[in-house]
Structure formats: C-alpha cells, structure tokens
C-alpha cells in the first residue's frame, strides 16, 4: 500500500510520542507559523548559546521548544527536527534545513543524505504529495524564523 511509504513507522512513532514538545524558558525568540490552507499552527522557541564572544552562526542551538496542533506529518516533522537541531550550531542547522527543504521539493525523486538528515529521511515519501509538503516544513520554517530573530536580538543587544 502506498500509505506505508508515506507514513513510515518512524513518522508514526514521533507523531504518537513527540520529542521536546511544550514551550520552555529561557528562550531568545519565538515564532508563530500557520498553514493557511488547513489552519494548522506551531509556536516555536529557540534558545542559542554563544560559542565565543558573539552570538552568530557558530552559536549552539541550546533548545528548541514548541507547541503545535496539526496532522501526523507536521507533528512528527517538528519532533524529528528538534532531535536533529538541538546541540548543533546555527550554521549546521541551516544546512540541515536546506537539505530537508530540498528533499521535500524532490517529488519523491530525492536521494537524501542520511548522515545529515538522520530520521528525517523518512519524509522522502511525503515529498510525492504536494499538498503535504507544507505540513512537513511548517516547524522548520518556524525554526528558521525564530533563529533569525534570535540572532538579530543578540546583534541589537551587542551594538
């Protein structure tokens, strides 16, 4: 059945038992994203820790916390994303985001790099369904937004 290709066990696991869910303090910035076609929402917070003096691309993603409502794909994607990004630097995280975005736009033809995407390779099947791509990307876009805001906040504080 085609359904199994899309709803990989790993996706269903994360959907039923999401990791890092719930909004936490402290955080540097928050983003609220909505999928206007279905009304699904995510509120996501990012906390960064500076590697050296300044909070820039080399900063570590200390925490990503979120509150969300939505379908299995959007919920599992948020959960898997937090596993992937927490502990990485911002620059590394942005590269993972790029790789994931590319996979989601591959129309099922992508050959994901498992070293980079880890559990997120399970979303390869989702990329065959254009209507679901936004679901998979919702939390990622919120993370990007919140991270950019975090960096800007630190820049203002520094100046």
């Amino acid at each position: 059945m085609r359904l199994d290709a899309m709803y990989q066990e790993i996706i269903l696991d994360h959907y039923r038992n999401p990791h890092h869910k719930g909004l936490r303090d402290p955080y540097d910035a928050e983003a609220h994203h909505i999928n206007p076609t279905c009304g699904d929402e995510v509120t996501l917070r990012v906390a960064l820790t500076a590697a050296g003096g300044e909070v820039d691309g080399s900063a570590t993603v200390a925490d990503v916390s979120y509150d969300s409502m939505g379908c299995s794909i959007s919920q599992a994607s948020a959960s898997i994303m937090t596993d992937l990004l927490i502990g990485k630097t911002v620059d590394e995280g942005m590269r993972v985001l790029e790789e994931f975005t590319e996979l989601m736009h591959s129309k099922g033809q992508g050959e994901p790099d498992e070293d980079v995407l880890e559990d997120a390779v399970a979303f390869a099947g989702v990329s065959k369904y254009p209507a679901r791509i936004k679901c998979a990307l919702l939390a990622w876009m919120a993370w990007k937004d919140a991270t950019v805001k975090s960096l800007a906040t630190h820049e203002e504080e520094a100046s």
Binding site: L3, M6, C38, D40, G70, S72, I73, Y129, C135
Partner: protein, 428 residues
C-alpha cells in the same frame, strides 16, 4: 426501498456522460469523487458545447461586424438567456463574472465606488454609522469582501451566529438587521454544514428596514431548483464550475433597477457609453459590469450545463442528493469516534457532510481516503471562523452531486474505518 422510491437517479446512465469518472487514481483505484462542493466534474455535453464554439463560432463578442462576430455574440447572449431562465430570471438581470467571488466583490466595490459616483448611485453609499450584516457560516468569499468594504468606508460589520446544531441563530434578527443595515449578505446553503438558510424570513426583515439582501448561491444553485424572485433577494451570485459548467465564469443576478443604479467595479473596454480623453460614461447593465472581451465559450458551456441539469430536472437532482445525504448522515454518523459538523438531519440541508474523526487529523483522514481512490476536501474549506466556532482546526468534507451513488457513500464509510484502523484510534 428501491432506488426509485428513495428518489435516486440512474447514476450509471449519468456517469456515462462524465469521462473523468471512469478513470482510476493512485495505482488503479476507481475514482470516488466526493469533492463537488469544491468543483464539479463536467459532462461531455458541456465540453462539446465549448469545443463547438471554438471550432465553429469563435470571435470577440460585441465587437466587429463579420459573420463570426455575429454568431459569437448570438451564442453569448443566447447563453445569458438560458442561464437566466435556469434561475427564473430575465437575461438583462444577469451579469457574467469570473466566479461567485468576483460577483460578490462587484457588489461590494460598487457600494464603495458609490461614494464618488454621481447621484444615480446614492442609494449604494455606505459610511460610518452604517452596518453590513453577514453570518458566521460564510465562505471567506462572502466575508472578506464585506470586511474590506467596511474598512474602506467606515461602516460596521455585524454577523449572525450559528447554533450548536449548525443552524443560523435568528434569535436577534430584529436587533441585528435594523434601520442602520445597508446590506445583508448570506449564504443560501453552507459549503461546510450543508445548512439551507431561511432566506425569506431574513429578506423580509431586511426589506422592512430598507436593507439589500445578497445571497451566495454557489452551493445552492447547482443542487436545487432556485427561483430568485421567490427567494425575495436583491442579489444572487453563483459559479459555473460548481454546477457542471466550465471554470472562469460566474454569475451575478440582480434586480434590474439596482443594476441600473450601480457604479461599475472593473472599467475598460465594452463597458463604456462614450469615451473622451478626460472622462467617460457607462453602458447600461449588464454590459456596464462586463469590461474586456468576455468569456463567451465558458458562457456557452455553462448554458449547456443548465440544459443538462434541466433535462434531468432540478427537483430530481435535489431528491437524489437528499437521499444520499440522509444515507451519509446515518452511516458516517454511526461510526464510533466520528462527529458530524452540521445538522444531523437531512431536512433543510444539502449534500455537504463535514466531520471530524477523533484522534486523526483531517489531512491524515484525507490521505487514507485518497489512497483508496476517495477524493474529499480537508481543511477549513475557506470557512475559518466557522471552524473556530465549532472548535475544529479543520474538518474532512464529503460533498455529493447527481453522479454519486450510495456505493460512493459506502466507500467513504469504509475509508474512514480504514483510517481508524491505520492510526489505531477508537471505533475500528
């Protein structure tokens, strides 16, 4: 009861006219199309009419004196007569638009344009202190244009709420529709709940206080006999593509004296009286509201759709869908863990059945159904405030038309159960 006693049409014969319904989807599954509320499929007769126009008569209408231009103009104006007759109206009361959404915008913009138009348009002027009334069950198409009108003019937007049962709450009819009300815009049949609204009672109150009434007929005109005069509305809009017709054509019906007093929405060629470098005058309706080369092939196609529906009989279409709706409410409603959003009874209710399945997001329900060849709509169906009212982020919606059968409803029910099994939720 037999199919005939239930009021069902000969679906096999009807389906033979719709080539797309014979195709398969998702690895060879027969298509079960339950998304006619979004757009209907088209019978060969409509496709042929449009093709014949292009192959035999194509020219820009209302322009040129050559033979093709005459034939194209005759076909276009003939289509207007057929489409007007379909709703018991006269041809000069029918304006063609891109779709129902544009038709609503046409009226909303005419009302704000009235502020700077001549005295002829004074009855359409709105401003601070005036009120526009809509309902909580409106499609965004019949909500956002009125929000925008109020924003532009300083008028106040008010609305009817809905009851837990999915009906309009008319308990404050006289308070909501009062001497400050300029227009009441409401749907004839909800695209989410299926509810058919008591238009006459609302129109009677609106007219008592001198307000206009606009009916969104996008979900009613395709599915029931509609006589615009009997409904006592002032404006009615609908879309061709939801009633077996082509995309790209919609209709605004209005009382002729109102059309005559309305300033234009979109200006340009064809809608003018006389043009000078400094200023211009307007053509009489309906041309005043049809700027640019119009969608003649689509008008011809929509007229063919009206002929098709007339041949079957709108009473019969209504009875058929009523039987399907009753059957769906009973069997979908009986699934443990499923809640129907909308009236539980088929009375004063059309064939849009929206529901939530406990523990499974509508996107996921839709995905499982799609995997089985069952096409439904998931999301808020362009009625976000209504979903908020019923505390649902989104719903799954099955919507029926004359080519659907009881077996299609069975496929839906089986698909919902399959989704419950797949996601391991209650009721399976």
């Amino acid at each position: 009861m037999t199919a005939r006693e239930l009021g069902l049409l000969d679906v096999d014969a009807i389906r033979a006219d719709f080539p797309i319904l014979a195709r398969t989807v998702r690895d060879g599954r027969p298509l079960v199309y339950l998304d006619s509320g979004a757009t209907s499929q088209k019978p060969r007769q409509v496709l042929d009419a449009e093709r014949e126009f292009y192959e035999r008569h194509n020219a820009a209408v209302h322009r040129g004196a050559h033979q093709l231009a005459e034939e194209a103009t005759d076909a276009y104006e003939g289509a207007r007569e057929t489409i007007a007759a379909f709703i018991s109206a006269r041809a000069d009361e029918v304006v063609f638009t891109k779709n129902a959404t544009e038709a609503i915008n046409l009226v909303a913009y005419a009302m704000s344009n009235a502020a700077t138009a001549g005295d002829y348009a004074s009855r359409f002027r709105v401003g601070p202190g005036d009120e526009v009334v809509v309902t909580e069950m409106e499609h965004h198409a019949n909500l956002v244009p009125w929000q925008e009108l109020c924003r532009r003019t300083g008028a106040t937007l008010r609305w009817f709420g809905v009851t837990d049962e999915g009906r309009l709450d008319l308990s404050d009819l006289d308070g909501l529709v009062n001497e400050r009300t300029r227009i009441v815009a409401l749907t004839h049949q909800s695209n989410v709940l299926g509810t058919v609204n008591p238009v006459e009672a609302i129109a009677a109150r609106a007219h008592e206080v001198g307000a206009l009434v606009l009916l969104d007929g996008a979900q009613s005109v395709p599915h029931m006999p509609v006589d615009v005069r009997a409904l006592d509305a002032d404006f009615m809009v609908f879309s061709g593509h939801k009633m077996l017709g082509p995309n790209g054509i919609g209709v605004l019906w209005a009382r002729p004296e109102l059309l005559a007093a309305m300033p234009p929405f979109i200006s340009g060629g064809s809608m003018i009286g006389v043009v000078h470098m400094e200023e211009s005058t307007w053509a009489d309706p309906p041309q005043r509201f049809e700027a640019g080369v119009p969608m003649a092939p689509q008008a011809v196609g929509l007229a063919a759709a009206c002929d098709y529906l007339d041949a079957i009989g709108m009473d019969n279409v209504l009875a058929h869908e009523h039987a399907l709706t009753e059957y769906a409410l009973k069997h979908v409603g009986a699934i443990e863990g499923v809640r129907i959003v909308g009236p539980a009874e088929a009375e004063a209710r059309g064939g849009a059945v929206s529901f939530v399945v406990d523990g499974i997001h509508p996107h996921d329900v839709g995905q499982v159904l799609d995997d089985r060849g069952v096409a439904v709509r998931v999301g808020h169906h362009c009625a976000w405030p209504l979903h908020r009212r019923y505390r649902a982020v989104a719903t799954t919606r099955a919507s029926f038309y004359l080519y659907n059968s009881l077996a299609d409803v069975d496929a839906l029910v089986e698909g919902i159960r399959a989704a419950q099994r797949f996601f391991g939720t209650a009721g399976s």
